[in-house]
Symmetry: C2
């Protein structure tokens, strides 16, 4: 079995209320090390056998066509990962 | 400025309806390469200067205390990343 990780983040210019809410909550648990927090999505796509170039191409297509909204999000990573 | 990435995934034994819905939608865009899809969260925490060990420790604490629900989610990565 192989695995491909796809990471999606909001475009930098897009408002990230969830990230702001987290940044605002961190001091309540005594953490003030961070200047900003942004939240995105992480997908793991499993393949039958080892990851092939065809699988990677399919993951890239899925990332732009289905897993992300190209208007407000960037696909920041599509990568085969070790089991 | 430094950046720390925190990746959170649902525990393997936890039902992932979102992942199942995506797996079911992939054939509609002609993709059948994948046996499963799981969806988690990806956070980017920005620091004022270069990332220090103290920042990494704070990110780990934030990951378990605030960014994840330890009952249903695993923190799979807390790592400083290049700008």
């Amino acid at each position: 079995m192989g695995r491909i990780v796809v990471d999606i983040m909001p475009k930098p210019e897009i408002l990230d209320p969830q990230g702001k809410a987290i940044l605002g909550a961190l001091p309540r648990i005594g953490i003030d090390s961070f200047t900003s927090v942004r939240q995105g999505k992480r997908f793991e796509l499993a393949t039958e056998g080892e990851v092939t170039q065809k699988d990677l191409d399919a993951a890239k297509e899925a990332a732009t066509e289905l897993l992300s909204n190209p208007i407000i999000e960037n696909v920041v990573r599509v990568e085969a990962v070790e089991e």
